[in-house]
Assembly symmetry: C2
Homo-oligomer: 213 residues x 2
DNA sequence: TAGATTGTTAATCGATTAACAATC
DNA sequence: TAGATTGTTAATCGATTAACAATC
């Protein structure tokens, strides 16, 4: 459907456009110009137009962009128009938090099950989502068309588990472990390194950007 | 101690250097060249040297970098050599996950308390960390030298709470709510937008970068 | 039609990589 | 001293912003 490789910077911004357009829809706004949107989002109108035109002409000269249409198109680009089945590996607090967050479903992401080795957690249920034994992992992935695994395991166990997941045919790993996974490039790895985020916050506390207000 | 503004891209990479140097220390490695480190981290040696030289000459020609010294220096730059007191606003699963993650303490971040409006959660304790009533927030922040608030509240309640936190003298907000907070520029806001991370993962699943392996 | 606003090209800015002289 | 490797300058690459012609 499309071919030129889109820059990382653009892809990073797409979900934010999607979020703002969703809010505009809720407010009942039907159309918006790149200039108005740029004020809301605190980016330049030029950047918005450049970003969107990577994917084709979504706007109309003299009019702007149709909010609902643009929201839909960006949703399609992000793959939110289809269902993604997800499992969570590690049923600790973080794993439970992910399973518990129903809002992901609005974007097409469904947590189907959780996995743990701890017998005390196996059989437990969070928002209707059951915790299974790791032993059942391979069969479960294959029988339930699971594409994504959220990995909320201690650093030291993460790499081995990632390899197993890849072997079992998982397509993407949402990695919350504090380590860089080295798996086949065919598998997407998206890292959420919370401790690094906290360190950046700390840095910025000590090194203020001189600005008014 | 230092003045030139460091680029965002560099700051973003610092915690990763810190992590790799910590691992090298654990392995007992005493010194490393930018070239060896670049292979481990999958970045260019040139970038490593450029990045580090933003902060001064940490290496030695013909020798490389002393792992433990460099680890310590980057730690100082990130502010990990001092204690940061943290509270969590919202004692749901995600808030509990943060409170429960003892490893943050190794970097100097201590969760001192959690806050919620739900009476069923107030008084509860996670890893010795108590859940207090939101009513006690102002007093608690001021009496316990709290600098950072992790905000794990629903989107709609986040903005108002952020304003309260700023009023009460918080220095930084670690924002897990799916919204952009608009608070004084003097307060650091570090966003962790999990749903956006998941959308990027989805995009990348559909748009593979052509590469071998 | 006239006005508004996009799509797109050109100019600028910033970040990364390459190269090499300085020096341990 | 000779070899290794940094610190740093210069070259390249990519991303952002500005400008404006195309067009609804």
């Amino acid at each position: 459907m499309e071919n030129k490789p889109i820059s990382k910077a653009v892809v990073k911004r797409l979900p934010r456009y999607y979020r703002y357009l969703g809010e505009l829809m809720q407010e009942g706004v039907e159309r918006i110009s790149s200039n108005e949107l740029s004020e809301r989002m605190q980016v330049t109108a030029s950047q918005i137009r450049q970003d969107l035109n990577n994917f084709g002409g979504f706007g109309q000269q003299g009019y702007g962009y149709n909010v609902s249409y643009l929201h839909g198109e960006i949703g399609k680009i992000l793959g939110l128009d289809r269902q993604h089945n997800l499992i969570v590996i590690g049923a600790g607090n973080l794993g439970q938090a992910i399973a518990n967050y129903a809002n992901f479903e609005r974007s097409g992401f469904f947590v189907k099950g959780m996995f743990d080795i701890n017998p005390r957690l196996i059989g437990m249920t969070i928002r209707g989502i059951e915790v299974y034994s790791i032993e059942d992992l391979e069969e479960y992935i294959q029988k339930n068309q699971i594409e994504i695994a959220a990995l909320t395991l201690p650093k030291l166990k993460a790499e081995a588990m990632a390899e197993r997941l890849v072997q079992y045919g998982i397509k993407a790993i949402w990695n919350f472990a504090h380590t860089d996974l080295s798996v086949s490039k065919k598998v997407v790895v998206e890292n959420v390194h919370l401790s690094e985020s906290l360190m950046r916050l700390s840095y910025r506390m000590d090194h203020p950007v001189k600005k008014k207000n």
